[in-house]
């Protein structure tokens, strides 16, 4: 790759050299016009060009990988005291509890899908620190574009268990009105743009939102989450390049969790991961230990400050691990070993690391943990049971929100369906609907 880049530059250089033989001048309307060297080459790359007179095709000469930033080790011990973030105790505990909440909700909803009570679910196991490290470092009015595995951000912003459960059930209280599959959350109130299943479409959109925020001078930034698999889509290229060239204040937050369904990251990309690309686009880039909530917090806070002062994007690549299956439709034992998963969960578990850190600060202990789990589980089960009891929306909601004002053709189709349902009510699950 680097070799090709070098070749490319050399070729460019050669063409400039040809111009140079004309006597360091440009040919305009048949006249040779002398120009100052600085004006002659306005090409962005040409401005900082260094010449070389040898070809390097040696693969060993790739640039060194970008280092991974961490604050604490696997045992929750701070490695470099100066890097310990100044977060007050109350907030630290809230961050930890929210990570735990994500985990408890996931266990219950995963099981409920297995029992056929909801149609689909996606767990966040193993990636909780990426949610809370980012969410806690941002303002609640910064705009969030999520992929589909960031429910900790929702919890932090107060989406609420009720809204979450109602969405999974698609009942009449669901903010999305029963239109999308479970896990496609969204809330205007908490600045969390509704999730869409197609991958990576949110990236260029986030860039556009950040540009609008920049012009509005509202001092808000945008964070856009995506996986390392999503980064392979063409939209990722578009987003990085637009953000860099148009100077957009947003944080691209890549959760590199090692897998895109069954495809390991080793088959997803070569080179220095997603972070390596940021450099190529001219984007300030940080690679962070995604299982270290403190490191993610520091990186996000610094990224936000940079975004808003420089009006430029930042790319954060958080190295983590998808400890659960891709979704309830997936069985990851078909492509990875149970031991691999166990090893990550035991040795580099983001929740355990946060627990150990808090315990060392005497902010948390076994007793607190037990009480928290018991209480939280009860709350989650209660919200779940409540959502289950609520009926689905009225069937005619199917026709709303296609357009701002329902056009004639849809009104006609709705009328046709109403007449059909009146005629054959016994064939439709009307009793489950409002």
């Amino acid at each position: 790759m680097k070799a090709f880049l070098a070749l490319g530059r050399l070729r460019q250089g050669a063409s400039y050299l040809t111009q140079g033989t004309l006597g360091r001048s440009n040919l305009i309307a048949g006249k040779i016009v002398q120009v100052a060297p600085c004006c002659r080459r306005s090409h962005a790359v040409a401005a900082n060009r260094k010449w070389t007179y040898s070809l390097d095709m040696n693969e060993d000469n790739f640039p060194a990988p970008i280092s991974t930033y961490r604050v604490m080790d696997e045992e929750g011990r701070i490695i470099e005291k100066s890097q310990e973030p100044k977060i007050d105790d109350e907030k630290l505990i809230r961050m930890y509890k929210t990570m735990g909440l994500v985990n408890i909700v996931d266990k219950i909803l995963y099981e409920s899908q297995r029992q056929g009570r909801i149609s689909f679910y996606m767990t966040n196991f193993g990636e909780e620190a990426t949610h809370l490290g980012t969410a806690a470092a941002l303002s609640d009015d910064d705009l969030v574009y999520a992929q589909y595995r960031e429910s900790g951000v929702l919890h932090w912003r107060g989406f609420g268990l009720e809204n979450l459960m109602n969405q999974c059930y698609g009942n009449k209280l669901d903010l999305g009105k029963g239109k999308q599959m479970p896990c496609h959350y969204g809330s205007k109130q908490i600045n969390f743009v509704t999730i869409s299943s197609p991958l990576t479409t949110q990236l260029p959109q986030a860039v556009g939102s950040a540009y609008a925020y920049k012009l509005a001078k509202n001092n808000k930034c945008v964070i856009c989450y995506f996986g390392e698999g999503a980064a392979s889509e063409g939209d990722a290229h578009a987003a990085f390049n637009f953000a860099a060239t148009l100077g957009c204040p947003l944080i691209f937050f890549c959760r590199n969790n090692g897998y895109a369904i069954s495809t390991p990251s080793s088959e997803q990309y070569k080179g220095d991961g997603i972070a390596g690309r940021g450099v190529g686009y001219g984007i300030k880039t940080v690679r962070v230990d995604g299982n270290d909530v403190l490191a993610v917090y520091n990186a996000t806070l610094a990224a936000k400050n940079y975004c808003l002062t420089a009006n430029k994007p930042v790319l954060i690549e958080a190295m983590t691990y998808r400890a659960g299956h891709h979704s309830t439709s997936d069985d990851s034992t078909a492509y990875r070993s149970a031991d691999e998963v166990k090893l990550w969960q035991q040795q580099d578990n983001p929740i355990s690391r946060a627990y150990k850190y808090l315990a060392q600060k005497n902010l948390w202990n076994e007793t607190a943990q037990e009480a928290f789990e018991k209480e939280t589980r009860a709350q989650v089960l209660e919200a779940f049971a409540n959502a289950e009891k609520v009926k689905k929306p009225v069937w005619s909601e199917m026709f709303t929100d296609v357009y701002h004002d329902m056009p004639k053709n849809l009104r006609k189709q709705m009328k046709y369906l109403r007449e059909h349902l009146d005629k054959y009510p016994e064939h439709y699950p009307l009793k489950n609907f409002t």
Binding site: S119, Y148, H184, P198, S232, E233, G234, S329, F399, H420
Partner: protein, 371 residues
């Protein structure tokens, strides 16, 4: 692509769910249709009872075996694919010929076109038809126009793109769409939809061997739900040839994929309850479609009903309706009827109301006859 995409081993989860019926929980039926086995078995050799994903695996296996240039790739294809269509093929043919691509549909389509241009047989999988749109440019502007724009010098006829489509019970907006009409608007490609294992194997082999690029849309609910006798050997079913699945003389009903089964049941209901004789046609190939079979049938029955899951406006039913009225005008006893999905995105919880189910189709049949 998304992933929520890996989704839906639907029938499996639907089966799991049927064991439990908690209060007010939306009870998903196993399927909105009854499967009618395909009786048109080609008369050659041994057969086995297999489902549709196995029939597709067999077709690809035969292709890989008989054509050393054949390649099979897409997202998650190596471990067998999220719908299990490529199980065992990487092991059998090696990672150079059966492989995962990075997660990028435009890349998959472009790569596949290039491989075909250079002489390989390219069998590309797009994980869900809902995620084919990033590849739209490559398919519509490139694959479809390669031969035309080069005066016949270059072409990518050895390209087949397979992708799961259609309703599945709880797929919602992005795991349920039937995008055949978008591609039917594209001269230069062929669009094919099987209705079960027997058709899937023969039609897929025809697509792979066809001299033009093909889009092969696989109704995902049939992967596991459709089981029937399928010849073990390779066989082809000609493209652009519709099949009369149920003969009849009062109403012609045209469908493809899963909807053919809905129409077969409607034909039964119309016969038993109303003594109406319906002819059911499986169009099989959407582009270029078999006009002769359709016109001959409608000229005989004088009534036509077209049914598809995709929305009404500009669905492929629109093309059929216009062509039928143009060519069978004097035979028509009633306006051509379309029973389709509504002009809304495909909704999650409202799927039972969205689908052009047997009750809506039967009601339309009665209206046609009473007209």
């Amino acid at each position: 692509m998304t992933c929520v995409r890996s989704a839906l081993r639907l029938l499996k989860s639907a089966r799991d769910s049927s064991a439990i019926s908690p209060l007010l929980t939306f009870k998903r039926t196993v399927a909105h249709f009854k499967y009618f086995e395909d009786a048109s078995i080609p008369k050659n050799g041994e057969t086995a009872r297999i489902n549709m994903f196995q029939a597709i695996t067999e077709a690809m296996d035969h292709s890989m075996e008989s054509d050393p240039t054949a390649l099979l790739f897409g997202e998650d294809v190596a471990f067998g694919g999220v719908f299990r269509c490529s199980v065992g093929l990487q092991k059998k043919f090696g990672p150079e010929r059966v492989f995962n691509t990075p997660l990028c549909e435009q890349g998959i389509a472009g790569f596949a076109i290039g491989a075909a241009v250079a002489g390989s047989t390219a069998i590309a999988e797009i994980q869900f038809a809902d995620y084919i749109f990033p590849a739209f440019d490559q398919i519509v502007n490139e694959a479809a126009k390669y031969r035309y724009r080069s005066g016949g010098q270059f072409e990518c006829g050895k390209l087949t793109i397979r992708t799961p489509c259609g309703a599945v019970g709880h797929g919602a907006l992005y795991h349920s769409q039937s995008p055949e009409a978008y591609f039917a608007h594209t001269p230069g490609i062929k669009v094919v939809v099987p209705r079960g294992p027997l058709k899937a194997k023969g039609l897929l082999l025809s697509c792979i061997r066809d001299k033009d690029p093909c889009i092969f849309l696989e109704p995902k609910i049939l992967y596991r739900g459709a089981v029937e006798e399928v010849p073990k050997d390779a066989y082809e079913i000609p493209l652009s040839q519709a099949e009369i699945v149920v003969p009849g003389d009062q109403v012609t009903m045209i469908g493809w994929g899963t909807q053919v089964h809905v129409l077969c049941e409607v034909a039964e209901m119309a016969k038993e309850k109303h003594n109406i004789s319906c002819e059911v046609i499986d169009l099989c190939t959407i582009l270029p479609w078999d006009e002769d079979t359709v016109y001959k049938s409608v000229s005989k029955t004088g009534r036509a009903l077209i049914s598809h899951e995709a929305p009404l406006t500009c669905g492929f039913g629109s093309e059929l309706a216009a062509s039928i009225q143009e060519n069978c005008f004097l035979s028509l006893e009633a306006p051509v009827s379309r029973v389709t999905g509504f002009d809304t995105p495909f909704p999650h919880i409202f799927e039972p109301f969205y689908l052009p189910d047997k009750h809506r189709c039967l009601d339309a049949v009665l209206k046609l006859v009473e007209y």
